[in-house]
Amino acid sequence: MSNINIDSIKDRTFDAIVIGSGISGGWAAKELTEKGLKTLVLERGRDVKHVVDYPTTNLYPYEFEHRGEVPLSVQESAPIVNRCYAFREDAMHFFVKDDEHPYIQEKPFDWIRGYQVGGKSLLWARQTQRWSDYDFEGPARDGFAVDWPIRHKDLAPWYSYVEKFAGISGNRDGLKELPDGEFLPAYPLNAVEDYFKGVLKNKYVGRHIISARCAHLSKPNTIHIEQGRVQCQNRVLCQRGCPFGGYFSSNASTLPWAQKTGNLTLRPFSVAHSIIYDEQKGKAVGVKVVDTNTKEEIDYFAKIIFVNAAAINTNLILLNSTSNRFPNGLGNDSGLLGKYVAFHNYSARISAEYDGLKEYMTDGRNPAGGGYIPRFRNLHRQETDFIRGYAAGFSAHRAIDRDTSNLGIDLKKQLLNPKLGPWRVGSHMMAETIPKESNHVALDNDKKDAWGIPLLKIAVAYDDNDAKMKADYIEQMTEMFTTAGFTNIQANTAGQAPGLDIHEMGGVRMGNDAKTSLLNKWNQLHHCKNVFVTDGACMTSTSTQNPSLTYMAFSARAVDFAVNELKKNNL
């Protein structure tokens, strides 16, 4: 469609374009605008303004029509997203319903998406751990994927930089496998979490439980107050959007910050169709957008482009960006675009009871969720019949037992005078999966979505290594729980499809060699230097950490590099 009657080209030209406004896109926008670049942020969904667009945030449970339950008609029409733990009546408006944006599952894959300004940064679990060199060195040591082109020292200053601004609570635990950062005070472990920590310390070598590190303002600094955020109020209703800005999101933090520079243009309802490549200039010159309301195609232009559409959609956009120079997708000379996709294996959990420490309970709520067990398997050397390992969450809470056996006045009395039950403990596995060429995404040749963009086919599956690791997690946790005197141990290995972990990564991996990777050590496409990818798509391997903090650090680091290159006229 012609652009003549829309705007002049000048009005559609910026210094930089960021595709996506989620956790990494928000960071790219903040950094670019702070460095003085006129920046267009494209968001395929609607706008969600901090506080005013959080309709459920201050509702009591009784103010929800179904007390939090998702009506059956919605559940049945959206079985994929319905499997997500956070898809509840209070936050279901922030999730993509299955039939709104279809995709093709060549193998079962639960693709959980949040199409709105802020993306999934409104909905994330807010756990934030740095990668160590045990993680970055993984592929080279254990012989899979390709070597990461960076190590912790390359990212460390950028981790510090984003941690200070986002606000990360945690302790300096002094563990080599989980580097310390710039921390606000940690949320302390409770009585039983502490007890279990002691058990591991006394009975095991190299197994630790730490206070979960999370993006909550336990004690805000000036930089957070300047963002308009205040101390986390322990509501733990984060998925509704937080009116206090108690946790980090694009909406509460990076986007308003970018807005204040006067350099930000935010365009919601704008799905990125493809990146426009100029054969003469030998670089990307802009982004073709479809307005999701009018279905009009509009081209926007810029000197540099950041692709932060969330891992799988970033793959889709690059695959759909074809030209004479790049018939198989932008920067895809290696033929590896869309391949070596991986995720985190969350398909096992375990629970138990503890009969001790009954003189204690908890009061208030812990936004960090409890404890975190960093990876201990195969850390220093290969010691099992699977490669790599898993981290785990660990938390304890005091059960409330309400006897509901009676009727009438007795029942009423029992309901209003609940008894404290035993402590209940639980853990969930967060395991590394191995990127493989066969785990891939690709464009469908025929089917297109409502905006004329090819549908994505996803073929991602578990493998034998995952199965062995899962069995080991259950075995090790059972042993540790037994050692701690926990009883009624129940393992749940019913499993879930890949994707439901919401940690899909890769497809546009980083590497030293342009023949075997798409991005260099600066998150820059080897073959199209003014395009950068700093969301989950860039990940060469997955390790075990919650990935968002690393995407933030990559984004800030890549913008710094890109703007310097721009100044040197290298882009």
Partner: protein, 180 residues
């Protein structure tokens, strides 16, 4: 806020949530809009009496005061499958049949002791029946509606929207049964 108040007054507040009243004041129909189940005003009243038997008014509000029967209807209508809904409607009607079988009276005419005896018999019957399925759904949803009501959550301070604190080593105080 005035506009909000005006809009609110159009709704029936059931345990703290607003439910849209049925548009017509048609005789014989339930007082709230239902999409999947068909309930008469008489059945609605019967359900109200059953929920009141489960959680009666004492010094504090009971199920009818909190309109928990409307909450039960809303949840069955929106959150249960067809099999549950069918069993619920049949089982509800069956409660009156059972009242006649046991006491030769309608449920609403029974004393509170008789009502409890009847519901206990439904609950303990070895045979899984529509009545039992109805009763289990109704009891569960009545308890849920009660514990999640404005009265229990806010007035009795059983829920805090904004705790503003976390203590992982809170000392357990001796509990004293005060509320009923």
């Amino acid at each position: 806020m005035k506009r909000r108040a005006a809009i609110r007054s159009l709704f029936i507040i059931a345990g703290g949530i607003a439910i849209l009243p049925s548009c017509s004041e048609q005789a014989g129909k339930a007082s709230i809009q239902l999409h999947n189940i068909d309930i008469t005003d008489l059945q609605e009243n019967l359900l109200a009496e059953i929920t009141e038997t489960i959680l009666p008014k004492t010094k504090t509000p009971g199920a009818k005061d909190l309109k928990l029967h409307l909450f039960v209807l809303k949840m069955v209508d929106d959150c249960h499958n067809k099999a549950d809904q069918d069993a619920f409607v049949k089982g509800l009607e069956g409660i009156d049949t059972q009242a006649k079988e046991m006491f030769s009276k309608e449920f609403k005419a029974l004393s509170s002791e008789q009502r409890i005896r009847l519901l206990e018999q439904v609950a303990s019957s070895a045979k899984e029946s529509d009545r039992q399925r109805f009763y289990n759904i109704t009891k569960r949803r009545t308890i849920q509606g009660y514990l999640n009501s404005q009265y229990v959550m806010k007035d009795l301070k059983q829920y805090e929207l904004i705790p503003g604190r976390y203590n992982g080593y809170a000392k357990v105080k001796e509990s004293t049964d005060k509320l009923s």
